[in-house]
Subunit: 199 residues, 2 copies
């Protein structure tokens, strides 16, 4: 199936060009035209894969999801349960330039989806990504619960919601005010929160 | 000073037209052209006040700040301190269509600022709005502390950061997944968090 392989390779090439544009000039600069120029393709050739900017943004978002998933899957489950939980939380916070670029794409993606009238395709896609992160938070709270580490009387479902909201809030602050919510402060805040859940 | 009064009135007219466009069609639809059409003005006349979309978005953001400030100032300081704290938190969460429109502007504004290369004017403006909300969170945690209600050993500065991040996270979730983070759930989550800080 040479044609399919070819398509996959071409999408990867566009992905890499898109990533370079976003890292260098920000997500706002990423258009079919600029990504085509970066990849050394014609705009028409890129448009064959991504007819418009929403398509390109969705693709960028898939790329971010894939990168996060790869990092999360690579985490070693060594040490105490709370230490492992904190390593997972670290991986999804925008604590370096690479992860800040990922977060900027997520932010642009959410803003664009909110600005869509009605239930557009971007909106459905935001839901999917959002549920992935919620699922991670659920696994982490459940791991603490199953290890018998949670304080008595805590409601697991509510703590999943609280952890997920706090994580998104800290990520937002780390991205928009990196001088105030530094990587150290962001990590300390998540550690403090996780510790507040333990007996 | 008839000229100044005139300018203020005209900006108000643009503000009202902008708000109607955002409420009806979303922030994405708000451009110099569409706002001019809504106000019954020429694009050139609007451009006299807001030369580009960033200017318009900054103005929309000022409008949101003003609306939030007015609502927050109207809150009556009756009842227990935790009840008052929760009333304030309620006012800044996007729990109805009106406040969701405000949040969508804030989200678009942040995304646009992040996409700016370097320290642009939008970015400075985001900092200001962000600090206003942070200041509100600080007043609320201090009020609990001064009433002697905080648990022993809690660090006020850290709890301000945690409340602020949680508030932004819950607001984000209420805006992007209103069917999951319903107004009731959002309020319950904030109440649960405030209660977890009390002795």
């Amino acid at each position: 199936m040479p044609k399919i392989v070819d398509h996959v390779t071409r999408r990867e090439e566009i992905a890499e060009a898109l990533w370079r544009v976003v890292r260098r000039d920000g997500i706002r600069a990423a258009s079919v035209r600029t990504v085509a120029a970066e990849a050394g393709w014609s705009a028409g050739a890129v448009r064959h894969y991504f007819p418009d900017q929403d398509g390109l943004l969705s693709f960028a978002m898939d790329l971010v999801s894939r990168r996060v998933t790869e990092r999360v899957n690579a985490i070693e489950a060594k040490g105490t349960v709370p230490a492992i939980v904190l390593r997972y939380l670290d991986e999804v916070l925008p604590l370096d330039a690479e992860r800040r670029a990922e977060f900027d794409i997520w932010l642009a993606f959410m803003a664009q989806a909110q600005a869509e009238s009605g239930a557009g395709t971007l909106h459905a896609h935001v839901d999917t990504v959002h549920e992935e992160l919620r699922g991670l938070c659920e696994s982490l709270v459940r791991a603490l619960s199953e290890a018998g580490l949670l304080k008595d009387g805590l409601d697991v479902r509510r703590e999943v919601e609280r952890l997920h909201a706090l994580l998104d809030g800290v990520a937002l602050h780390a991205a928009i005010q990196p001088h105030r919510t530094t990587p150290t402060r962001a990590r300390q805040l998540m550690r403090h929160h996780v510790e507040s859940l333990l007996r």
